[in-house]
Amino acid sequence: MTQQPFSDKMLNAFVDGELPPEQAASVISALAEDPALARRIATLQRLKTSLASFHTNAPPLPALPDHTAWRWPAALAAAATGAIIAGAVWVALPPTGPDTQTSATAQHTPLDMHQGWASTGTGTGTAPSPAHLPDEFTWLTPVMRATGLQLAYADDWRDGLHLGYVGANACKLSLFIRPDDQPDSALDIHLDQHLQQASWTTSGLHFNIISQDMDTSRFATIATTAHAKSRDHLPASAAQIALINAARLPCLA
């Protein structure tokens, strides 16, 4: 019989797969010639496997109390939503574009994501129904309705959300909302004939709006109204809605 000294710690580590390869090999080679060693290891293994399936019937995830959000970050502090509501909306808005639930897409910029979605041609059909947003974004609905754009796409992006809106005349607009611990920032807007972008941070949320070939006045009206409503969460005034309506123009593409 091999007189290899194997401590209890070594044998337990061996059973747990935690022994360095050289030491594990020495245990294995000793097993064949040491029945007592084999019994010790077998006992340890049975103790381990007996506990491995300690309890298989786990309860479901608890339902969050009313007015309690999935608090990814303080972002949602100002906009409590029930996880059930969020979940229901998610079911109601299956992504119609490319599957973005990959770690690779998490690295893409909002512009990348917008172009990826816009180029696939999705959104030209009917919008998913029921298309609605959680309660805390009710301020957004009338704003976007006034634009004439329909919500056609929704997907996760970088722990936030990518919403895609399409219009009857080739217009596509992306709205990105994600948690952000940075201080509130002013509206930053860039207008170019072929690319329009706006961004701002408010109440723990960062917004990006992107469109291509949209009339710059129309885009600016949408962005400024969305910015204002994201800050005060009040319904858009009739004047604001009228401005957005008046700015409707086909996109150049």
């Binding site: 401590s7 209890d8 381990k48 007996s50 298989t56 990814w72 970050p73 979940g87």
Partner: protein, 180 residues
């Protein structure tokens, strides 16, 4: 937000092991269910959630363990978390080379172990953590985890041998089922 789906899915994947850990820590099923629910609620409402899956798993189990410790502290039972027992498995095995390892008996014996032993065995055998992960979660050196595991399994073996009220295989022990 919608992206909580990823968070939600990650927690779903941890349910069984997390509940198993709760059952290992708590004296009874209702307590385990309460600990599990409280842990999940806290994890679901957290502001800063690790994105890495491994880090997330450690983070969730740490939440549960901290809640468990808080409960012990509130009940004045925190000293039970320390254990100076040092049992040599070889000695335990020498007393009965044919130690019967009946799965149900093991589980019953496990619940009779001291809390520190249940804690470390639950992390490695029930929750499936590596020694490195358990070391991180308990904030102790990896060598300490090795020692604790060794002592815990020795204690478990001794408990199986010593307690004839545990269910044993009729074939091996020749005793009637007595239960606990």
């Amino acid at each position: 937000m919608f992206t909580q789906r990823r968070h939600h899915d990650a927690l779903l994947a941890l349910r069984r092991r997390l509940f198993g850990y709760a059952c290992a820590l708590c004296p009874n099923l209702p307590n385990a269910e309460d600990l599990y629910q409280d842990t999940m609620l806290r994890a679901m409402q957290a502001r800063n959630v690790p994105r890495d899956q491994t880090a997330l798993r450690v983070w969730v189990f740490r939440i549960m363990r901290n809640l468990w410790i808080d409960g012990l502290r509130a009940a004045g039972r925190l000293p039970e978390l320390t254990s100076d027992d040092d049992i040599d498995l070889q000695i335990a095995l020498d007393r009965n080379d044919d130690l019967t390892v009946n799965r149900l008996a093991v589980r019953q014996a496990f619940m009779k172990l001291a809390k520190p032993h249940r804690d470390v065995l639950a992390l490695v055998d029930i929750a499936g953590f590596s020694y490195a992960e358990a070391s991180d979660l308990l904030d102790v050196p990896q060598g300490t985890i090795m020692s604790r595991i060794s002592r815990a399994r020795a204690a478990l073996a001794l408990c199986l041998q010593d307690d004839d009220t545990l269910i044993a295989l009729p074939r091996a022990q020749g005793r009637r089922f007595t239960g606990i």
